[in-house]
């Protein structure tokens, strides 16, 4: 063999070994057949709150990565997914405009990976009127969990705070708690009612303090919470407000007298470093999904998809997990349909029939159902801040015991789930 053939052969061998050795672990998505999809595109949309008090766009980024992977692996029975993401800039007016653009101008068959503070309230009715389903990544205010056509994959701040309260009662034997929540309508009067209602049924007194998220004075809030002499304080605020409030609590040395727990927003890689060593092993957080570093096959697949088809700068956080799940759910639903008959009405009908979507990222099987509201994810584990990261402290997932879930539990029974 001449030198050129040797060189070429070595190059090919090297390339092949790289591809198979898992310099990136193998990402599995869609049909997984390695064929590029080149049929008629299927339009799928997403509305995320990117520009504003926080950047929630990582769920759409994860969904985009998954759809890209799907398009390179046979698509939806040969048809690629055209994923259109819009930024609502945390403004309900803008949310209505961009949703109009996606639903009425671009005629998307469904939306997946939405994460926004404002779009549920602004758009739920329009989605319902237009008959389009939204498999959202993360929903926050009450409207996201009370709409016919909106299916959040996460559990929501009410469930999350309830589980945190349940853990505090279990682990710290707390009998009196204070729940802190921003006073935004449909969040301030809803999310802390979960712990309150649960507490009423279980002999735990829970008081609510609604705060102004734009206030400059975190110290007074912590002093007021402490003045009620609770055993536990439940923080149910976004991480941007959480950090200065914990800083104020640290300055008043409240962490040594009162247990602090939090709902899911605190679970983020930058929080332990920001809140500092005072809270080491002293701050427990509820998760809406299983931890980011868990070794289950679907969680590893999520990381693989992000590595192979996502950008390096895309955050690998819980929103990303949620976006991946939403995209996967929609893809598997579409794959079961006749590729030539994919339109909005048939997709909506197929999504409502989803009854047993499993993933090790989720605690329990996920479902959609034909109910008037959706909150299928209502369990999660608890972790505690440990150094610059988190460590699991609960034995597996805790299921929320929120009295408001009675209709959801009835739907679950109807679908034949436990």
């Amino acid at each position: 063999m001449n030198i050129y053939r040797i060189a070429a052969l070595s190059a090919v061998t090297l390339a092949a070994s790289f591809a198979s050795s898992g310099a990136f672990a193998q990402s599995k998505c869609g049909l997984g057949n390695g064929k590029k999809a080149d049929g008629e595109p299927i339009a799928v949309g997403a509305v995320v709150g990117k520009t504003g008090p926080d950047d929630f766009s990582s769920s759409a980024q994860a969904a985009a990565a998954y759809f890209k992977c799907v398009n390179e692996n046979g698509g939806i029975n040969g048809r690629p997914v055209e994923y259109l993401v819009a930024d609502d800039q945390w403004n309900p007016e803008t949310a209505a405009q961009v949703a109009s653009k996606l639903v009425k101008d671009r005629k998307v068959v469904a939306l997946a990976g939405n994460t926004s503070f404002v779009e549920c309230g602004a758009n739920a009715k329009m989605y319902s009127d237009e008959g389009v389903m939204v498999v959202a990544g993360t929903g926050v205010p009450r409207e996201c969990f009370n709409a016919k056509n909106y299916v959040p994959v996460n559990s929501g701040p009410r469930i999350s705070a309830t589980i945190a309260a349940m853990y505090a009662a279990q682990a710290y034997k707390s009998k009196k708690m204070v729940c802190i929540i921003p006073n935004i309508p449909s969040l301030g009067n809803w999310a802390c009612e979960g712990p309150k209602a649960w507490g009423k049924a279980n002999g735990v007194e829970v008081e609510t303090i609604a705060i102004d998220p734009g206030s400059a004075d975190a110290t007074s809030v912590m002093l007021q919470a402490a003045s009620k002499k609770p055993d536990t304080i439940i923080m149910n605020v976004p991480k941007g407000i959480l950090v200065p409030m914990l800083a104020a609590a640290e300055q008043q040395n409240l962490g040594k007298k009162i247990h602090f727990v939090s709902a899911a927003p605190a679970y983020s890689a930058d929080v332990p470093k920001a809140i500092g060593p005072y809270w080491n092993k002293n701050f427990a957080v509820n998760l809406e999904f299983n931890p980011l570093e868990s070794k289950g096959p679907d969680n590893l697949n999520w990381q693989a998809v992000m590595n192979s088809h996502g950008a390096k700068t895309d955050p690998r956080d819980t929103f990303s997990q949620a976006g991946y799940l939403a995209a996967r759910l929609l893809t598997e639903t579409l794959l079961k349909m006749d590729a030539k008959k994919i339109d909005r009405a048939s997709v909506t009908e197929a999504l409502r029939k989803v009854g047993d979507f499993r993933s090790d990222i989720l605690c329990n099987p996920f479902y959609v159902g034909a109910g008037s509201r959706h909150n299928a994810n209502n369990a999660g584990p608890m972790v505690v801040v440990d150094g610059n990261g988190f460590t699991t402290v609960s034995k597996g997932c805790l299921m929320a015991d929120d009295p408001e879930l009675v209709d959801v539990r009835a739907d679950e029974k109807k679908l034949g789930l436990k």
Binding site: G52, Q89, T94, Q97, A122, K125, N183, N189, D212
Partner: protein, 355 residues
């Protein structure tokens, strides 16, 4: 012959006939400019819904609703030199009233808009009371404080969305959208409807400017002493200006609520009132075209940047720079620049056609 000073340029007093001719000419010009305004809005009303897709139809509805409010800001600043930094808060008040009445009693849309305008006019008059004693920067700061107060209140209270009670908020159910007017339920029809209201409000303002009110305002602007000396009731006309500006804001708020369907308390910060004033000045406060441009700047330009996926914060940088540029180079606003351009074009044309 009456004694005349040689230095005076009007050396010969005009005869009665010349005066009559001049007045007739002014009257014709005014009528023509009013017709030009109505004609422009007619063109907008027919072309925009036809050309725009769903995204842009909604955007233009919001933009022109804000133009109504900007007209009020321009009225106060252009005619009277008074700075009001709380007009967006008054827009919120109007929106709140419209939503509450619409959800609560199901009255026709037009009545809701008028009620919103009336309530905002009353509140605007109250906000204008300090203007009787304070001027300039101090008045601006006082109105800013009012806007700040409204921001806190509306964030807590929220906007009505179909529920019962004073606040009209729904608990645990789906939030309702405001009922559209009977004649304009689709988005395109609603855009035309908004243009109609804009035309009506602008015409109302023009009417004021050409009658006694406008003359009184011009005198008040010169100075209270001059106004009092000429027999103008300063209290009445100044308060009336604030009421009218409040009416514009209220109508704008009601139209915005109807377009989007619901309003959110977080979108009514004090900074919005400041931006409304700033962009009204950039648009131009001395002409009705300025109000239209202000509305477009407030909603259409950001929508354009969003459509091109420009990062929202980079868009903010662009806006700030554009604001500075407009303030420095264009005293009469963009409208002034457009009008002077048109004037030059027309002058060149008539100069070219004349021998």
């Amino acid at each position: 012959m009456t004694p005349i000073s040689i230095a005076s340029p009007m050396a010969i007093p005009p005869s009665i006939d010349a005066l009559q001719i001049a007045l007739d000419r002014v009257r014709r010009e005014r009528l023509r400019s009013l017709l030009v305004m109505l004609g422009t809005l007619l063109v907008l009303g027919t072309m925009l819904p036809w050309l725009a897709n769903a995204y842009w139809t909604k955007t233009f509805s919001s933009a022109l609703a804000l133009s109504v409010a900007a007209a009020g800001v321009g009225l106060l600043y252009g005619q009277l030199g008074l700075v009001s930094l709380c007009q967006f808060a008054l827009l919120g008040v109007g929106g709140w009233v419209a939503l509450r009445i619409s959800h609560g009693s199901g009255l026709p849309f037009e009545l809701c808009v008028l009620a919103a305008g009336l309530v905002s006019a009353l509140v605007g008059m109250l906000a204008g009371l300090p203007a009787l004693r304070l001027k300039g920067l101090y008045l601006a700061l006082v109105t800013l404080m009012l806007a700040g107060g409204f921001q806190v209140v509306i964030t807590v209270v929220g906007f009505p969305d179909g529920g019962p009670g004073w606040l009209g908020r729904v608990e645990g159910g789906e939030r309702l959208l405001m009922a559209r007017p009977a004649v304009a339920t689709s988005d395109s029809a609603y855009l035309r409807y908004v243009v109609l209201w804009l035309a009506a409000v602008l015409a109302l303002i023009e009417l004021h400017r050409r009658t006694r009110a406008g003359r009184s305002w011009a005198l008040i602007r010169r100075g209270e002493a001059a106004a009092l000396g000429a027999g103008v009731n300063v209290l009445l006309y100044q308060t009336w200006a604030f009421a009218l500006a409040g009416f514009c804001a209220g109508v704008g708020g009601a139209l915005l609520a109807g377009g989007v369907g619901q309003l959110d308390g977080r979108a009514f910060g004090a900074s919005e009132s400041v931006m409304l004033f700033a962009l009204s000045v950039v648009g131009g406060v001395y002409h009705w075209l300025g109000a239209i441009i202000a509305g477009l700047l407030l909603r259409a330009v950001p929508a354009l940047l969003t459509d091109f996926n420009v990062n929202g914060f980079l868009a903010m940088v662009f806006f700030g720079a554009a604001l500075l540029h407009a303030l420095i180079t264009a005293q009469e606003g963009v409208a002034g620049q457009v009008l002077s351009l048109l004037h030059r074009v027309r002058a060149r044309w008539t100069a070219g056609s004349a021998p």
